[in-house]
């Protein structure tokens, strides 16, 4: 078989760009600033109030963003499945993801700015100008905004596969619309919800460009901390430690949101 040779780049890629970088990240997390092997990074991380609080905040932000996105997106996905030309409307929901993330963030700098539209509106209402940009609220709003399409898509796919007969049967047997939703539609769309939560929660832990541009320096997520340690303070050991925590958090989330067959 000569063809085997052609697959060498792919397997090299798995080794050198998947396994080796992750192994090096783990390895690097055991070194301090002077290049000595140590466990101090982990000890510091788990004993310092600052790091633990930052981790907790980061998880909390990601949780709020995920829940907000889910609440907005689920009805959207549901309405989409009821439409004619649903693929077209779905495409309209997804199209904004093709616009560069940084440009969307940049738009919000204008919208939320001191003399931006939102503040002009507040002024008009008589509330007066308030600081919106560079607060945690603005970070949560923008992150949720960016995440909506990623939540809608998997839920739409799950709901679209749902057999209408089940819903009709439930109604015929006397279930109310609410019961039909909680007992039939929601459980059957859970796999879509899990996929959506996974697609939103994990990136929300690491959106450092948004925390910088929109959150000012008030919001620090795990991703922001990694970027800070690698590119600003040059403490790669601690940065790697936080990155390892991020990977562990990711694995836990993936485990919890794993697709289930019942």
């Amino acid at each position: 078989m000569t063809k085997r040779i052609y697959s060498v780049p792919y397997f090299l890629w798995i080794v050198f760009f998947v396994i080796v970088p992750l192994a090096m990240l783990l390895w690097q997390s055991f070194f301090d600033l002077n290049g000595h092997f140590t466990l101090n990074n982990y000890i510091l991380y788990f004993s310092s109030g600052t790091y633990l609080l930052m981790t907790w905040n980061s998880i909390l932000y990601a949780l709020i963003i995920t829940v907000a996105t889910l609440v907005i997106s689920y009805p959207v996905a549901y309405v989409l499945t009821k439409l004619k030309m649903k693929q077209f409307w779905l495409m309209l929901i997804i199209l904004p993801t093709w616009v560069n993330l940084l440009l969307k963030a940049y738009a919000f700098i204008g919208i939320f700015g001191k003399y931006g539209s939102v503040n002009n509106f507040l002024q008009f209402l008589g509330i007066g100008r308030t600081q919106i940009l560079f607060t945690d609220l603005s970070f949560i709003l923008v992150a949720s905004y960016i995440s909506i399409p990623f939540m809608v898509l998997p839920i739409f796919n799950a709901l679209n596969d749902l057999d209408d007969n089940l819903v009709n049967a439930s109604r015929d047997l006397g279930a109310s619309a609410f019961q039909t939703f909680t007992q039939v539609i929601w459980p059957l769309s859970l796999n879509g919800v899990r996929a959506g939560v996974q697609a939103v929660f994990i990136p929300s832990l690491s959106l450092f460009m948004l925390t910088r541009l929109i959150g000012g320096n008030k919001v620090i997520t795990l991703g922001t901390a990694v970027e800070e340690h690698f590119l600003t303070t040059q403490n790669w050991g601690m940065g790697s430690t936080i990155a390892v925590v991020l990977v562990v958090a990711m694995l836990i989330v993936m485990r919890m949101t794993k697709e289930r067959r019942d």
Partner: protein, 266 residues
């Protein structure tokens, strides 16, 4: 029931307006004669003129597209061959490798960026175009594999048997049977890789040096410095280009039946 449905449509319209408002906001102010995004003082095309006169920015746009094209092309070739070879493996080993394949799909950007930065530094590679190119190829390969593999799995193996019986050699089978069958998946994979590369900020930010930058990184540093309507003008062009890309994608995909749900644009 009718009422409920129209309520849903109102809600959908509301969310769509919400999704597009920031984009149209940017586009609207790209025609502003004033200097920021707070007050529209008059219509002008000056921002576009500034944009086209800004040779540095134009060069960055060209670089970004060149990078996206080259990285997705290479990733498509490697990923397609990888997908074909993964299917041939035994189930157990295939699932392990597929798990590894998906690591870069689910890892947060910063983790990918940081680990690649360590890799390039230890190898002693100078940060710049090559390191960015390698990174983009690396994070684009898994999506190509995921787009191509399902097609190859569902391909009827009797097609290959028939070709064999009729005397085709292995490279003929590849060119005449397998590749044409996989084409929709390959195109989908290429498109996805292309957009991944165009959109990427975090990984590039980590592995780029001083002498190479992409559009995302440039917008980031300009946005940190404040508002300049030149960026708005750029958004207008980017948005038009995105629409073209999506329409083009749907046009190409319209007639293909072999591509499954996996081709959904995410």
């Amino acid at each position: 029931m009718q009422k409920k449905n129209s309520l849903g449509k109102v809600y959908l319209t509301f969310v769509l307006i919400l999704l597009y408002a920031p984009i149209f906001y940017l586009i609207f102010y790209s025609f502003n004669a004033g200097s920021d995004m707070s007050k529209f003082t008059g219509f002008t095309l000056d921002n576009f003129k500034t944009l086209f006169a800004d040779s540095r920015l134009i060069l960055i746009v060209v670089q970004t597209f060149f990078l996206a094209f080259l990285s997705s092309l290479i990733a498509t070739v490697i990923g397609t061959i990888g997908a074909i070879n993964l299917v041939k493996l035994k189930r157990r080993r295939r699932e392990t490798l597929l798990g590894l394949n998906n690591v870069l799909m689910v890892s947060p950007d910063v983790v990918i960026g940081a680990s690649f930065l360590i890799l390039f530094t230890i190898v002693g590679m100078k940060l710049g175009f090559i390191s960015v190119l390698l990174s983009h190829i690396a994070f684009s390969i898994p999506i190509v594999v995921l787009m191509v593999m399902p097609l190859y799995q569902e391909m009827d193996s009797s097609l290959i048997d028939a070709a064999n019986d009729l005397g085709a050699n292995s490279s003929q089978i590849m060119r005449e049977i397998i590749l044409p069958y996989l084409t929709p998946g390959i195109i989908a994979g290429f498109f996805m890789a292309f957009t991944y590369s165009l959109d990427d900020f975090a990984v590039t930010f980590f592995v780029t040096g001083n002498d190479f930058t992409t559009l995302s990184v440039e917008i980031y540093s300009r946005a940190r410095a404040g508002i300049s309507l030149e960026i708005n003008a750029l958004s207008t062009l980017v948005f038009l280009f995105s629409i073209l890309l999506v329409v083009g994608y749907y046009y190409i995909m319209k007639n293909s039946e072999t591509v499954g749900k996996s081709s959904n644009l995410t």
